[in-house]
Symmetry: C2
Subunit: 245 residues, 2 copies
DNA sequence: TTATTTAAAAATATCTACATTTTTTACTAA
DNA sequence: TTAGTAAAAAATGTAGATATTTTTAAATAA
């Protein structure tokens, strides 16, 4: 068997963002490998919205056969990152202001709902976890490159929010949230660059997070939900400016 | 090309429950056909929870090759109706009281949220639609067989609820709702038989629906959301009784 | 000429049949 | 029993065949 560089690299290292979708068995099959790589490349903008995903290119570029590649693509269709037309292949899903609004509206309402549940249902471990993650996020300072800064801040910011919603006690709601987050990811990237490299913007976020933590630990459900709702919606304006088209 | 009976039947008739996932092009490919058939069979109980989905059986039974069949199966894994273990194939997802509680808890919160939005955002057309569907549902009477009764009542009941949530103006939230509904479907079937064939239960539902319509048309957001929340949760007790194991 | 239709060719998507790898089962010997 | 091993079954992947769409070019009509 021909072992490609890509394959061996992938299968050896445990995937970072392994969603609960593929808990079982770390040795992934070709379709799973293709799914991860392609998803990452779409989110990171290696392919532009509307780009045709040519089977011949995908096959050679990822060194994966047509069968497994189709499997990956049709999963990405379910994730709304790719669109398919029968007999005409696959394309990277378009981005639009309408979709941006739709996704963020849904995210804000869902995240507020989940936050409210977390306030009701979260235990002391949850409180500790939130506090810890908030602390780590507030201490993103000693970094070398701007790229590193962006990566670290984003990672800790995500962990902070994840720690909050983890208190909700509903794995189904967390799955739905994860699905929306995936769909928002390409839009979020536009906001991220703007925010992380602006001291003003960062300070504003720091403030919002502090208020959020305060409401959470004081078990003020209504206020926490309200703060979260607006916190989620706040990037929309920035993203609209930077949205191509 | 060999055209199987299954294939020709499927491709000719427009599929009923075509989710927006595959809007484009009615002439579905083999993977889509397999997905629809298999999903229906799992929901209808043709395969039991935990059953192994043997490739050799699936191939011969649906007259579809391994490639497209894998594609369909991995979509069903994303839908949580099937589980996969790498190199060990696919199984029908197990059912459990824990999952039942999880799904219905999430559904109740989400449906209440969406209902609240519908009250805020729904226009007159929405009101009219809700009223119309409520009327149709209340008039499920002149039917022949019990099976027909079940089918018609379920269909109209679903349409009634769909007409309510359609007012929310968020296609993303509606997609999430549809996903949960799919996951709930096998549990719902257990409740449905109990409910449709009991005059008491039907009357109770009729009452709840009437209250719901009243709250909706009076634009009483809080009451509508509250009623919806409990309406969704109400089947849990019945389902728990009938849940195998 | 310019636009439109038609026909052939090329490119592409999709499927099937077969090959390979992995797991499971059955059997044997300690 | 238990461990080990060979055979069978099953899952997964590949290559090539087939069907469909798109492109190109030629032919026709305005």
């Amino acid at each position: 068997m021909k072992t490609s560089v890509i394959n061996s690299t992938q299968t050896s290292g445990q995937a970072y963002g392994a969603t609960d979708k593929e808990i079982e068995s770390s040795k992934a099959n070709q379709a799973t490998i293709a799914y991860r790589l392609l998803k990452q490349d779409i989110i990171n903008g290696a392919y532009q919205p509307g780009d045709k995903l040519l089977m011949s290119h995908l096959k050679s570029h990822y060194e994966i056969g047509a069968g497994p590649m189709r499997e990956a693509l049709s999963q990405l269709v379910a994730d709304r990152l790719v669109t398919a037309i029968s007999q005409r292949g696959f394309r990277v899903a378009e981005m639009s202001e309408e979709e941006l609004t739709d996704i963020y509206d849904a995210r804000a309402h869902l995240e507020a709902l989940i936050t409210g549940l977390a306030v009701e249902r979260g235990d002391e471990d949850w409180e500790a976890e939130v506090l810890g993650e908030a602390h780590k996020l507030s201490r993103v300072n000693e970094v070398n490159t701007p790229e590193e800064m962006l990566e670290i801040w984003d990672s800790r910011h995500k962990s902070f929010h994840q720690s909050i919603v983890n208190g909700c006690g509903s794995s189904k709601l967390l799955e739905l949230r994860a699905s929306l987050l995936d769909q928002a990811e390409r839009y979020r990237q536009l906001w991220l660059k703007q925010t992380v490299f602006s001291q003003n913007a960062l300070e504003e976020k720091r403030q919002e997070h502090a208020e959020l933590v305060d409401a959470l630990l004081n078990r003020d459900k209504a206020r926490a939900a309200e703060l979260m709702y607006h916190h989620i919606l706040s990037p929309i304006a920035i993203i609209k400016e930077r949205l191509p088209g």
